[in-house]
Each structure stands twice: as C-alpha cells, then as structure tokens.
Symmetry: C2
Subunit: 415 residues, 2 copies
C-alpha cells in the first residue's frame, strides 16, 4: 500500500485523555480512533492487525467447531430465564431513543455481553439426541459491556470483539475431555500469535459461572493489570484469588512461585449444567431417557489481544508487531529515490510480500520515526547511498543494526 | 464438509411465525435461526453465503476506498450535532439495563443505524488539506434500526449487516465524478453476485439526505416489496415517488415504461454538505482559504442481499444459489455407497472444490429433498447404479435432467 494514499496520519503527541499505553501508541500510529470512552474505531492499519488475529483464531477454532454468527440484540426473556438480567451490572439495554411514538417500537432488548443466553436455545433446537452430541459452535462477534470507567484502551471496552465458542456434551466426563483439548487449541493460537512462550494457563476461580476452578490464559506484560503467580515446575499460573486459599501450586505442591505482571488474553469455563438447567435443555439418551446437557464456554478477545500485544512488545520508539499479525511485513522508505523504490515495491508486492511504501514527500527523520512508531517487522530504506551499491538497507524492528542487501536478493531475504 | 457433522438440520415445515419467503426457506434449510422479530442468527450454512457476499463487496470496494471498522455505540452528542437524534424514528439508545447503580454507568448512547455521525469527525481529523482530498472509507458493520413491525425476514431487520462507504471531496463536481464511478462499482458487485442482469439503477428521491435525486439499485423479484418502472431504452429504473412528479423517463423522455416488482439491494446518496456543515468540516484550499467538504454515502446490505437472492431464485423445492455465493459448489449424495462416495469427496476437496457430503444414514428421498432445499449449484449422486458404470450422476440445481459423468472426469467437469 502507498502510504501517501493512507488517509490516516501519525502524531507525535499522545492524546491527553488516554491513560493506557496501548491506546496512546495505537492512536499516535493511526491504528485506532477513540469514538468515546471504551469505544474505538479500527482505522485501516488497526483493522489489518485485527483481521489477522481473527484469522488465526478462526483457523484453530475451525478444527474443533463450526462458525456461526449470533446477533447483538436479545429478547429480555432469555436473560430472565438464565437469572442474569438482574445480576450482571454491565448489562446494556437497547430501547427506542426518542418518543416518536406512533412510529416507534417501545420494547426493550438486551445487548449481549456474552452469548450463553442465545446459543443455548439454538443448540437445543438441533442437538436433542445423544447421536447429535458432542458438538461445538463458535462466533467472532461484538460484545457490549457497560463498564463504569473504561480507562484501559482496548483492554476493557464498552464495545469489543470476542471469539466465543460453546460446547455441548452428554456428561461431565466428555465436557472435561473437550475442555482439555481446548487448552491445547488456545495454546496453539497464542503460539501462532507470537506470545506462546510468555502465556500461562492460569488456574482461576470460576466467578459467576461455576464453583469449580476455571482457567485464564495470562500473558506476561510489565504493564499488565493482573498479578499471576507462576509455578516454573508446571509452566502454570495461579491467580491471586486462588492463591489466597492455598499457598502452593495446586498441580504439584511447589511452594516456590514467582509473581509476574500479566494481561488476560483468554478464558475457559466448564459451565456444567447452569444454562441447560435454566433453559430446560435435555437430550434423549440411548435408552430413550432425558438427560441434562453439559456445556462449556471458551473466550478470546481479538481486540483486547491487539491491545495486549501492542503493550507487551512496545519500546520507547513505538509499536513492535510479531510477524504473524503485523499490518505489513515490510515498511519500505524512499529517501528521495521514489522511482527506484517504486520498482522494489512492485517487485515485492508481486512476490506476495505485504509492503507499506512510504512514498510521501517528507524528510528522512520523519520517515524513520513513523516506521518505528508503526512497527512493521522489516524496514527497507532506498537512498542514493544504498543504490550506489545496488542495495537496500534492511533492518528488523527488534534490532538496532541494519545490513545492506543486494536488490537482486531482496525477495529471497524477505519471503 | 460432512453433513453428518453439521449441527443444524432441515425441516419440512416453515415456522408458523414467518411470513416472508426468504425467512421461511432459509429457516427450513438451516441457514438462519430467528432469535427475535427482525433479528436472526446466521447458522454455519448461512454464514458461508454471507461471507461470500461480503468478500465480493469487499474486493470491489478495495478498488475505490480503504476499509476500517467503526463502532456500534455512539455518543448522543454526535446525533444531536447532525440534528437527527430527534427525527429518526428508528433510533435505538443503549442504556444500563438494571439499577445496580453503584456499579453502573447511567449514560445513554446511540446504536448507530448508519455512520455519517461517526465518520465525519474521523475524516475531519485527518483530511484537512486539499492535498488529502478526495478519499473514500468504508466498513462492513452491523446496523441497528428499531423497526416497528419487522415482518420481511432478512429484508428489513432490527439488526443487519451493511457495507457503507463514505467519500470526501473538495467540491460538488468531484463528488459527482466519484458518484458516477460508484454506480460502476455497484454494477460490478451485482454482476459478480449473479443478479447483474436483473438489477436496475433506479432514480429515487433523496429522502432525508438531499433534495436532489439519489439512486437505488433495484433487483427484479416477483415477491419484491417495491414497484419500479423500467425504461428499456436506458436500462434505467424510476421509482414510484419520482414517477408521481413526471410521467416519463427523466433520462430520455421515453413514456413507454413497464412496471416490475423489485427489491432494493443498494443505494447511493450525494450528501453534499449536510454533514460537513453540521460538524463544521472545512478543508484548506490551495490559497489557504477554508472550504466546505462535499460528501457522498453508498450502502449495500449483505444480509438483506442474502434474503433477496434467496427469494429471487427460489423454486417450489427450495433455494437455488448463484455459483459465486453458494454455501458449497457441490452437494454430494451417497446412496448407501459411503466408501466410494468418501473417495470422491476427498478427491474433490483436494482439488479445491467446496463439497457438502451427505454421508448421513438416511433414505434417497430425504437426501434428494434436502439437496433441493439447500440449493447448492451441483448435485452429485453416488449409487450402485452409477458405480456400475464407473460414474456419478451430475445434476445442476437449475436443470431437471441429470447426466452420468465418469469418475475420472469429475474434476474436469466441476473445476
């Protein structure tokens, strides 16, 4: 893409009303625009990263479940049936905005902050026999949560993206089997996103969902809002609430735990029969007898992940994207050698390399600063000096040293 | 995909509460599930079609604009600035659903039914110089409209998908130039979707947006809710409201118009300076003087399109999908020859052909009925009879006659 055609621009200053590092950097670099507190627009660069995160999640989820798309609006009755309408403080209702009453429908609906209340009746419509079970369904969809004071940028929004998968089982044993499989699926997602090594499966209390333990996936991050205690014997995390009840690793008994700052990037819950009981969801077993369905739910927030990854890898100069989700693989800078740089841009693009080509009429300093701020993995500089040696200057965003690469060797180097 | 693994099922009966043909068929075939009036869940088959429609739209829009993603929640102030907060009867507000008041934020937000109020301040942030103009930005995003009595299935929902593109210009002349280009872009979208021949650019009154004429794209459909008058000289439509003011084709004066039933599949509006005036959006011209920005907006609803296409091509047996957007290209039916059919399924899948393989333990009658109801373009039947001749039976969904095709020739036939 030609940077001169990108309608966004970078800014030197962070917006005064952003306290979080992720929102400051992502706003300065032109990835997001704050529409209101806790609600962001994804600009072209930000949307490219978001889609790549979603695609990785989708590829892994397609191995275990079927994708569908549920709505954001729900009838209130579904939330009354589950008992959560009057207990979830973050619930938004949608109502007619004005009193043009002859034309307006005055009912009130819920804006789903999670979709157990929607998926359960759908599963119940189709999955009524033991022959239909188990199955898993997921979606990548917007969630709405009426957070009182959203100050963490993309990490805790009033509106945000979520991949939520739900599984349905004949009994608890089968739910547990699938639940363990999902740990592996999630681990693969975080590996592919470039944060696998620093992400810990973390034992957490189940909150509203279950009295059993559930699990969070916590990624180490110095600016993270959570404290997680790591057992290096098991490569396992234990969260604060669980550790308040016992002082050692629940898996191996190890008492030498180390505390890290971390951000949650996923969670999995054995819902057991909470929602199937509420919605009266029974299947017919082999003997023709009705049996309660066991359920699990499994969440990863793509927009939150984008924010966590932005914060985790950022340095003093700006964003540093892992290769798998960078908006472009290469940031190509022309230092007053537009024609020669254009030829290299065409060559790379034809070879299938994603390139952001800075063809703007700006000085070298501004171009270098923008490349660091935007954070593509590779920077290529074309200047009179490099062309004298039939070369371009190649630098990885994570390195300080650059190397000269012959123009004829660029594709080999970058493919 | 193995049909035995698809968690949805078809039904013989249409739901009693659905009046529209699109919702009846799409529900029976397992493409959608009604979560409430005017609000649908896209099940796996429906989501496949929706994504293909969106991808075609996206490819064409990428040629003229940059994709981004705006939020559904908006601050009320933006809708007050435009003056539409108290005039749009379909406006939803989002408010705290319950009175857990110590934890809850009690503000009220608008759920965007269209995004002029969101895009204008964003464009204004970046596009302030004549050098930045023109530019165009689009998104594919959910819209919310509080329709009083939504009875048309996917054609008029309270929540639905929309591709909305917005363009920004230095003057009216440049807006008009781009507006004409968008007619061509839309024509290409409808051509690719398989409805180009029956879709008419239709002169419409501008409604709330402009006193000038705007344009609708109307697709001929016997169950359509609109009446459009066609001038066959110009291949142009004229809508009822415009024709009430003049009795001939505005383009050529032709008085011999024929009336068709049609469904709207897109619309384009020259917004001119309505929103730039409201938001005080001026750019700086070559001489350093402030000048008002001209805007256009251009909409296509992917979920509505899915409903229109379902209705337009349906026959008495079920859905009939155009090849470009069918959930699968081929519906492969095994009539008690699962092993042989499985080999053909593997062969086609490896060759990149999208196949729904009916491997279920059901009779031929049920399998044929489901294939007709689901409406994939090609049906392949594998039975003892066809295997005797080293063949499969191939039938197009739009044809009544089938042919025998040698197994060795299948890929050649279907690629």
């Amino acid at each position: 893409m030609l940077q001169s055609k990108l309608f966004t621009k970078t800014t030197k200053e962070a917006p005064a009303d952003e306290q979080s590092l992720n929102a400051q950097l992502l706003t300065r670099a032109g990835f997001v625009h704050k529409t209101m507190a806790g609600v962001y627009t994804f600009l072209p660069l930000g949307l490219r990263v978001l889609r790549k995160i979603e695609d990785i999640i989708r590829e892994e989820m397609d191995k275990v479940g079927q994708e569908m798309l549920m709505p954001s609006l729900a009838p209130e009755i579904n939330w009354e049936i589950s008992g959560r309408k009057d207990t979830l403080s973050v619930l938004f209702a949608a109502k007619a905005a004005n009193d043009l009453s002859t034309k307006t429908n005055n009912s009130s609906y819920i804006l789903n902050p999670t979709h157990e209340e929607i998926i359960t009746p759908i599963a119940q419509k189709y999955g009524l026999s033991y022959k239909d079970l188990p199955f898993a369904i997921y979606q990548i969809q917007t969630k709405f949560r009426n957070e009182a004071r959203p100050k963490s940028g993309l990490l805790r929004g009033r509106e945000f993206g979520m991949k939520d998968l739900y599984s349905f089982h004949t009994d608890e044993k089968d739910l547990r089997r699938f639940y363990e499989e999902m740990k592996d699926s999630y681990t693969e997602v975080f590996n592919r996103l470039g944060i696998g090594h620093d992400t810990y499966i973390t034992i957490a209390s189940g909150g509203d969902f279950t009295k059993d333990y559930s699990h969070e996936f916590q990624t180490e991050c110095v600016t993270g809002e959570d404290e997680v205690h790591i057992c290096d014997e098991c490569h396992l995390g234990i969260n604060k609430e669980v550790l308040a009840k016992q002082s050692s690793c629940p898996a191996c008994g190890n008492k030498k735990l180390r505390m890290i700052k971390a951000s949650e990037v996923g969670n999995i819950f054995p819902l057991n029969t909470k929602f199937s009981q509420a919605f009266n969801y029974y299947y017919t077993d082999l003997k023709g007898q009705p049996q309660i369905v066991y359920m699990g739910s499994y969440g990863i927030g793509p927009s939150r992940l984008l924010g966590v990854i932005a914060e985790k890898f950022a340095d003093s100069k700006g964003l540093v994207w892992p290769k798998a989700i960078a908006p472009f693989k290469v940031h190509l800078l022309s230092l007053q050698k537009d024609k020669e740089a254009e030829a290299i841009y065409q060559k790379l693009t034809k070879a299938g390399v994603e390139v952001l080509f800075d063809d703007r009429d700006l000085g070298a300093g501004e171009k270098f600063a923008d490349a660091d701020l935007i954070g593509c993995p590779y920077r290529l500089v074309v200047s009179a000096k490099t062309l004298d040696q039939d070369s371009v200057e190649l630098k990885e965003r994570t390195e300080t040293k650059s190397t000269l690469v012959k123009i004829s060797q660029i594709i080999k180097e970058l493919k």
